[in-house]
Amino acid sequence: MMAEKRTLDVALGTTGVDERGLPVTVPLGFEVPDAGAVEEAPEVGGEHMLLNMGPQHPATHGVLRLVVELDGEVVIRVIPHVGYLHSGFEKLGEYRHYNQIVPLTDRMDYLAPMANNVCLAMAAEKLMGIAITERCKVLRVIACEISRIISHLVWLGTTGIDIGAITPFLWMFQEREKFYNLQEAWTGARLTTSLTRVGGLMADIPDGFEDGLRATCRSLLGVMAEVDRVLTRNGVWVGRTQGIGVLTAEEATNMSMSGAMLRASGVDYDVRKDRPYLDYETYDFEVPIGEHGDVYDRYLVRFEEVLQSVRILDQALDRLPDGPINVADHRVILPPKHAAMTDMESMIHHFKQVMEGVPAPVGEAYFSLESPKGELGYYFVSDGTAKPVRWRVRPPAFINLSALSKMAQGHLLSDLIAINASVDIVMGEVDR
């Protein structure tokens, strides 16, 4: 099958082989010692090896299984197998009221549950034509950006481990813990937040949350500066990431990539800018764009997104208005408990919402937002009842993962780990 011999170059800066089978190297920014000593490469042509990786493998970030065809150490083909965590969420959603779907969304992208909650509420509100309050908008922006930071911190930490840098992992999880404490103070849960309700939020932020968030952001910026110093110009990091898993802008667009996977390839598409929601057009922030579409550019893009999220959080805290978090319409939002117990009208609303749910008009709505993984879209089809006919999740991690085979071709097995890490998958969302 592979007629021509492949050669391996074990010098620093090896980034796989090009279409002629020759090693591709990229400049490291410093002098690399002469690699002449290893120019006689071992012959590895001939038989291909089948390697099974996962579904229980720490570097596959969950229950992903990869069947890899190897020629020596060079990846010829990757066949991903997903579905080990399939939970039938879309089917379950058809049997639930819109608000009852919120807990399911926690369990999809469990590294950024609040962004998923917000997306569900926004999609249902688009379907029902509900306009939310100003305070709710800003709080949802805060929820989305905290999610982005948490998710990117986990990504940076685990990717560092995959490539051999353990220190950032510890720093990242320390910082993430602080955001989790805030998340817990707000929603009562660290992971299964279930923050939103159709038409509002489950709870307002607690006392001290704003100061806590500002302080946490400041400490995060300090740690990010250290990570920048440790990784961004680190020879090993650069050598393991530059030129690896390249997707051109055309390829990334054609393969429906989204999020950092698309932007690292140089395509300027961010749902926050291109289909603004929650008044994102009024916030002052930049969308980082890569040039080369490799693992290194994905790192740079996600790194910068964390810093931009801090900017957005600062602005959101500055503008956070007073007022209600929920719409005043008690056909949509439960009346306060004391009213339900003392006032006939409120009791009827309470009863109807709990027993019958909130009916949505006949129609359909697709709403998408920029989740940490990419464009997260929820598509509802309603036949006029309180339960959707169809609830479709456009899962960014699932679609981004589909490019793995293409990206890994011709790279070394160890680079496959780096490429897989750079996709930023979360299997709860891939498998749903």
Binding site: L50, I79, D274, E364, I399
Partner: protein, 208 residues
């Protein structure tokens, strides 16, 4: 209303069945047989330029007589506008539609998922296998309305099948072929793989 809807009606005439709007999204229903032609036109015509395929999915309604729909969600980067294109698949005909993988490589896994969940076949798809359910899954298509929420088989039958599953079935024949070890497998295993018997899946007892 998205102006692309008018342009489509001018260009394709009766192949555009109807145009509706819901919650601000424009939805174009097109003739099933010309779906690929219409999507290719939307993608390649410069003033349309829907170069980004956001999503592929399908919808089945609760009314049993209503046809299934395949849904293509498109987006044009240059004009920052989205369009939803749908085609209806009547249930009394084979559920088949042309694959869009030649237009968008991103349709690959999305169409596999629709096939897996709804049983819609995509003609010309390079690799139409189940994706979320396992390849020997015998209970049907989970997102169809006639599929019960708890599955067609009883829990005990599901457990029995899981315990009886053949570990060989974790690799496809194609994957074993990669290893160049196919010839070294035991003869009975080779025979089962060649005949496509992948694990012992018995018929369910006593229906759903």
């Amino acid at each position: 209303m998205n102006p692309s809807a008018d342009a489509l009606e001018r260009h394709f005439g009766s192949a555009i069945r109807r145009v509706t709007e819901s919650c601000g999204d424009t939805i174009v229903y097109v003739e099933l047989g010309r779906l690929r032609e219409i999507l290719a036109w939307l993608k390649d015509t410069p003033d349309q330029a829907y170069i980004y395929l956001v999503d592929v999915t399908a919808v089945e309604y609760r009314e049993p007589e209503r046809p299934l729909e395949v849904v293509y969600e498109l987006f044009a980067f240059s004009r920052k506008v989205g369009l939803r294109v749908k085609a209806e698949l009547p249930k009394d005909q084979p559920l088949e539609v042309d694959s869009m993988v030649p237009l968008w490589a991103g349709a690959n896994w999305l169409e596999r998922e629709v096939y897996d969940m709804f049983g819609i076949t995509f003609r010309g798809h390079p690799d139409l296998r189940r994706i979320l359910m396992w390849e020997t899954y015998a209970e049907g298509y989970p997102l169809r309305k006639d599929f019960p929420l708890r599955g067609r088989f009883s829990r005990s039958e599901q457990v029995r099948q899981a315990l009886n599953a053949n570990p060989e079935a974790h690799y496809s024949l194609e994957e074993l072929g990669i290893a160049e070890s196919y010839q070294e497998l035991p003869a009975d295993m080779r025979g089962r793989l060649a005949r496509g018997e992948r694990g012992q899946i018995a018929e369910p007892k006593g229906g759903a």
